[in-house]
């Protein structure tokens, strides 16, 4: 495809095939530009796998994995791994990234690179302290009066 510009002045033949594409046909890696279609049986198997993984996802919710693996948030981590597994099944088989051209694969990966970049934005929240803003509203006394008598705050209001 890189040679398209150099051949732009040549005419196409009746089938829409220009000399460039014939040149490509001579090359051994020509098949890289051809989209391969998997057999329908792959889709059936993928669907069965997806349903199985859905059952795994729901089942995991009722099991406290931290009892077996002492890592904080292990349930969330495993749930996300299963979700990524399911997602890659959909992307590779259903969206046919498997049989697609290299350019398509690159494009598809770009979208997920963006998500990684966004993780960098997330780090920003972890590195700087939150400024007192709307959060202060949750604490009406504003942190000034630590020994405030109870009668002035909650109890008198609710016991009426």
């Amino acid at each position: 495809m890189a040679t398209t510009a150099t051949a732009s002045h040549t005419a196409h033949d009746a089938h829409g095939h220009g000399p460039v594409s014939r040149l490509h046909e001579d090359l051994p890696h020509y098949s890289e530009f051809h989209i391969k279609h998997p057999p329908a049986s792959l889709f059936h198997r993928t669907f069965a796998w997806l349903l199985f993984l859905l059952a795994v996802t729901v089942g995991l919710y009722y099991v406290d994995l931290s009892r077996f693996i002492p890592i904080i948030g292990i349930n969330l981590i495993v749930a996300l791994i299963v979700a990524i597994w399911k997602a890659s099944l959909v992307v590779y088989n259903f969206m046919n990234l498997k049989g697609s051209t290299r350019l398509t694969v690159l494009w598809a990966l770009l979208g997920f690179v963006w998500l990684l970049l966004m993780g960098g934005v997330f780090m920003d929240y972890k590195t700087r302290p939150a400024t007192p803003g709307w959060q202060r509203m949750e604490y009406p006394l504003g942190g000034q009066d630590i020994e405030a008598p109870l009668s002035k705050t909650a109890a008198s209001a609710t016991l009426k």
């Binding site: 889709f43 398509t104 949750e138 006394l141």
Partner: protein
């Protein structure tokens, strides 16, 4: 798209193992380049969609990190059976969609329309279940614009425990005779106990103190005296308000993400109807070329993909 080439006289033939021979538009070198161009174009759109939903997932992650107890608390209002059913329905629709694409590739009219109708039925089922879920949220007082955490808890207790469970926010101490002459610390403990009973995932004193860190540099004083923290700074009504505000935040994110996803489902249904209509009329853009179906399929799988992540993140918090 390739309609121009189709009208120019190319007719479908079954030369490549039963696969239709797509016409090549004049601006492309060959059919491989044309197909790649279409698919890369669609993926470019999908990348913008990933960015779109990605921002929502960022908001979700940020607040889940800040308020884990709130997320744990709020997920009990969502129905796991309904969410799981919806996931299954979407997976079924994705499978039907690829089968529709296979039928389109082989030029099978009946198969293609049949599978697409199945996709449509699945999406209607999905929206139907979603409507049931949303309407129960409206009823319980969890809708963003009309948020009532105490009411939602009452409803939840009624459904889960089968009793009328006294709502903490309204009559916290009324049931206890002689409660008035208590010390501040005792009242605080009582309030906390009561809050724990009514709100199962009520933030602990330590969690409240950790949040307080953000509002003042003086944290030593606070973590030292539990009751002092509790009565002076996050006294019971304001603690309930805190829980309520954060729950509202969770439901804003919930309605934002699932609502946007439902909008994508509706748009997908319109695309599906268009393809079915074109195929019924034997329009050359879908009879001679499977690409329109393939591209709608890519979009549909993406919508499925979003839900695959939404379901465990929203419904299955443990």
């Amino acid at each position: 798209m390739s309609l121009r080439a189709a009208i120019a006289g190319n007719t479908p033939s079954s030369s490549h193992g039963g696969v239709i021979e797509q016409p090549v538009s004049h601006q492309f070198e060959d059919i491989d380049q044309q197909n790649e161009c279409y698919i890369v174009g669609m993926w470019t759109f999908l990348v913008t969609e990933i960015m779109f939903f990605g921002a929502f997932f960022l908001a979700y992650s940020l607040y889940r990190t800040l308020y884990p107890a709130t997320y744990l608390d709020c997920h009990r209002f969502l129905s796991i059976p309904l969410g799981a059913t919806n996931t299954g329905v979407l997976l079924l629709s994705s499978w039907a969609m690829v089968m529709a694409v296979v039928s389109a590739q082989h030029g099978r009219k009946g198969g293609m329309i049949g599978w697409l109708v199945l996709v449509l039925l699945c999406s209607m089922g999905f929206l139907g279940i979603k409507a049931v879920e949303y309407s129960s949220k409206f009823r319980e007082g969890l809708w963003v614009g009309d948020f009532n955490y105490a009411k939602a808890n009452r409803e939840w207790i009624k459904e889960e425990k089968g009793d009328e469970g006294e709502p903490f926010a309204q009559t916290p101490l009324a049931a206890i005779p002689g409660a008035a002459p208590m010390t501040g610390a005792d009242t605080a403990k009582l309030y906390h106990h009561e809050a724990k009973r009514v709100f199962p995932y009520y933030p602990t004193v330590q969690e409240l103190a950790a949040d307080y860190r953000y509002t003042t540099p003086d944290t030593k004083e606070l973590t030292k005296t539990e009751a002092g923290v509790y009565t002076s700074y996050t006294g019971p009504p304001s603690a309930v308000e805190t829980a309520s505000k954060r729950a509202q935040l969770f439901f804003s994110i919930y309605f934002g993400m699932t609502g946007l996803h439902a909008l994508h489902i509706i748009i997908g249904m319109m695309m599906m109807l268009t393809i079915i209509g074109l195929r019924l009329k034997d329009h050359p853009s879908v009879t001679l070329d499977y690409m329109p179906t393939e591209l709608v399929g890519l979009y549909w799988h993406f919508v499925d993909l979003v839900w695959i992540f939404l379901f465990p993140l929203m419904y299955l918090i443990s």
